[in-house]
Symmetry: C2
Subunit: 518 residues, 2 copies
């Protein structure tokens, strides 16, 4: 059996099959249109559920058995607890103990705390991971040790894949900081409070079996119900679902690096000069040190001009909450709270609204929030001279990161990547990125400590900032400066084996990642 | 073509087809199980919707044309504005003007304000109504003048029918007191504030085309989004969507009739004697004068015993809100606000929670709220000696009411019908009800001004109240008393023509209504 390849719309060679499933190659950011129907779950009946609404099972093992856990199933979990998750590993421990094999793990993201799952990838309990493979898991995959190919999706792409039936979840396990015996659940209160549970929304709607696990059971009704008990099969009460100090980082701080601060300032100045920061505008920045600094600069500019933003998209944190509390932002539309201030604000302030990958990012909906944003600030491991971006692999070829909402955010009106010119003496701007996660036509501006490059497609931006005094350069000039300092790096060497596919927001494959030659 | 009939589980003869669709006869309250899949709507793509989220069309006509309005389509509307709705009639006015024929109107309920639609039933614009036909519309149908048969469903049954694909909605028109150009909408604010939009939830999820019409457009984001813009195709701004004083009755008052007050008191005493009113219990009463009085008596009992209810289901009103504000009820889980106090409380109090037919009533879910209620207080036009209940026809055979959530509420742990022994000198307790809307095995207690009858199946209730001093009688005794006063009424005379089907909560047909012989 020889694998066939086709060249997709960004020039990457894509196999026609991955994990035995047919592949649709990427056809441009808006190119692919499906005429299919959404996945249609089985009709359930109240006759099969307890009249008194008490769906409790004694423990996770009992709940998994009740859900019919068996070989080859797809099991989903969620990263609301980030590096403090205590549940995902337990599931596969139980499965291994039961001798269940060839499971597909479908997390919304993975973290270093999931490194113990390598044991279950090795012993056959888990066949492969459909989702981000960070750190050790990514290295394991990059070494060609995972049996199936990983499938990486954006947060919105994950929702799309479940909604459209590309991934059929047999058992969804939703760890919830607060829940009632009926399965209503939220992330706002309890010892493991994480803010919201939006990453589990698709799973709750479409999975065959839905298990809610909580360490804070309250009498019905659990209000608000971010996850609705009417979609839940089984509830498990357990001692601890997450490690609080790893759930919220608590220490997310504005960068102190002079280079990063300069990049942040330059980014904010660019937005100001480009007329993006105006009354009623909207923005999304991340929770990294540079992004936080940019948010602060935005706040200064708004204060100075006596204007405010209509909404900001989170990941929220203390700095964004400050802008909300000071009336500089009308609403935070939040997909993920990054610190305790974010959790508190979401719990208390009706203007701090929880969102989901459905509302914010799903490309197969009737519009989404991402495309309405005036400006989006994102990161990248590499960018190339055609403005293509990479967020999953390093320049040595190893798959070490997930995509989060990165691809989805590319649909914002202006997309800016504030990035250093080099990291560990390896230039970030390349002739070609190792892995294309987003096509250059959606990336508008690169801001580095040595200057700003504007995508030639954005003639409007080039025009409006041309007399701003900002250090505008071409992407080739920036690339040249990086290489003058660090030299031209050797490209990584790969084996033939495909260890992961990178899905675009519409379910097509934009690139693949291969085993690293070691 | 001769119609075939089968006898269903409550002994009613049911045709095998209604409106050309095959019929599943009622098989007992929990008897029917489907192995089908939920309806799967088309996959949509953001590529077909405006990036800036602005989905406005200039007017309702333009929106209907954009939605592809044509002969034979199913058009849904909602009764959030009750008798103050200004939109449903406009839709069919426009359709008639465009010469569109044979539409199916699928309202969540109809009101006297919809009487003008008779013109469109007569001129062929509307083929038939799938939904309640109150007052004049019901009389029109009962006279055999509607071309198709009406199909009456409970609120939960309507959700079930849409979810399961029994009714495929071509165009849903959702009138919303507040909305943004993306289609996010709520009922909490604006000149036509009605509280919530839960009756339109199914339609927003499953209809091919969703139009939101508002007279209070706000900039994105409209918070909260009871209806999510991600499910909406088109937004229309219009001058007025509802007549405020008819949206909320404002005048819902506790009964002053001594007989009704006595029935209310007896009902509350019964609940107390039966041990139903205990700390942490739950209840649902309606918004009629008797039900309001019962709620008040419940409040007195709770105050007296120093206990509180965990939750009450609304229809909310000033009296229920008072119980919430006084801490006698932890949560109101509300499906419909009946007065301005209800709207205000839902807007301001996080413990006053909006629900939908999905959470509360959908029988084809993983449980629902209705079965968790300790006690439910309902009305009926007739009850028979087997405790079967009727809420849609009068004893003269005319179809004059919809079912609301009545059938769904029958799943509460104890179901009590406080009803007068006669109305207009016609006895309410009969040998057989004109139309069976709910099977007697789900109806536990009948409370009248002449005594209380307990369903013989509820030996537990009979036992616990036997020494309470309450006037417990058999249903036959009560029937006899009614007939001694009013005489034995003549049964109504019917033609063969079936003018409406009564669906059970699971989509089976529990009874049909025939044309009245005039």
């Amino acid at each position: 059996m020889t694998t066939k390849y086709v060249k997709n719309a960004v020039g990457r060679m894509i196999p026609t099959e991955i994990n035995g499933q047919p592949v649709t190659p990427f056809q441009g950011p808006h190119g692919y249109k499906t005429t299919g129907h959404k996945y249609s779950p089985l009709i359930r009946t109240c006759a099969d559920y307890p009249d008194d609404g008490d769906k409790r099972a004694p423990d996770l093992k009992a709940a998994l058995l009740k859900s019919g856990l068996k070989d080859g199933m797809t099991i989903s979990t969620h990263h609301h607890f980030r590096n403090g998750d205590l549940i995902a590993n337990q599931i596969f421990e139980i499965a291994a103990e039961l001798g269940v094999k060839d499971l597909i793990w479908f997390p919304s993201a993975s973290f270093p705390c999931h490194e113990p799952l390598i044991e279950y990838l090795e012993d056959g309990t888990i066949h492969h991971i459909e989702g981000s493979m960070n750190g050790a898991l990514g290295r394991f995959a990059s070494q060609g040790k995972m049996r199936g190919a990983g499938v990486l999706r954006s947060h919105g792409g994950r929702y799309q894949a479940v909604q459209d039936g590309e991934v059929v979840i047999d058992i969804a396990v939703i760890a919830a900081p607060t829940a009632d015996p009926f399965g209503n659940a939220n992330g706002l209160t309890g010892p493991s409070a994480c803010g919201l549970l939006g990453f589990a929304l698709a799973d709750s709607l479409y999975a065959h079996n839905v298990i809610v696990v909580t360490d804070n059971l309250v009498p019905f009704p659990c209000i608000p119900w971010q996850i609705q008990g009417n979609n839940v099969d089984t509830v498990v009460e357990t001692e601890q679902i997450g490690i609080p100090e790893r759930i919220v980082s608590g220490t997310t701080q504005i960068t102190k690096s002079p280079d990063r601060l300069y990049i942040a300032e330059l980014t904010a100045k660019f937005c100001d000069a480009a007329g993006i920061i105006r009354d009623g505008f909207s923005f999304q920045a991340g929770a990294g040190g540079t992004a936080l600094a940019i948010g602060n600069y935005f706040g200064e500019i708004m204060r100075g001009q006596g204007i405010k933003a209509r909404f900001a998209r989170g990941g929220s944190n203390q700095y964004l909450v400050e802008l909300l509390d000071q009336g500089l932002v009308d609403y935070i539309l939040d997909g993920q709270t990054f610190d305790l201030e974010g959790v508190r604000s979401m719990r208390e302030n009706p203007h701090h609204v929880d969102t989901s990958p459905f509302t914010s990012y799903n490309y197969h909906g009737k519009g989404n929030f991402a495309s309405m944003l005036d400006v989006v600030i994102l990161g990248a491991t590499e960018v190339d001279v055609n403005f293509n971006g990479n967020v999953v692999t390093h320049s040595d070829g190893y798959l070490l990161h997930g995509m989060g909402g990165w691809q989805n955010c590319l649909f914002g009106k202006t997309v800016i990547l504030p990035i250093p010119l080099f990291r560990d003496r390896i230039p970030v701007i390349r002739d070609e990125v190792t892995t294309i996660c987003g096509p250059g036509e959606l990336i508008d501006v690169i801001v580095t400590e040595r200057g700003i490059a504007i995508n030639p497609r954005r003639t409007d931006l080039i025009e409006v900032v041309k007399d701003s005094g900002l250090p505008i350069k071409t992407i080739h000039e920036l690339k040249g400066e990086g290489e003058r300092i660090c030299g031209v790096p050797q490209p990584p060497q790969f084996e033939d084996k495909i260890i992961a596919a990178i899905k675009w927001v519409d379910g097509t494959v934009i690139d693949v990642v291969r085993q690293v030659k070691e």
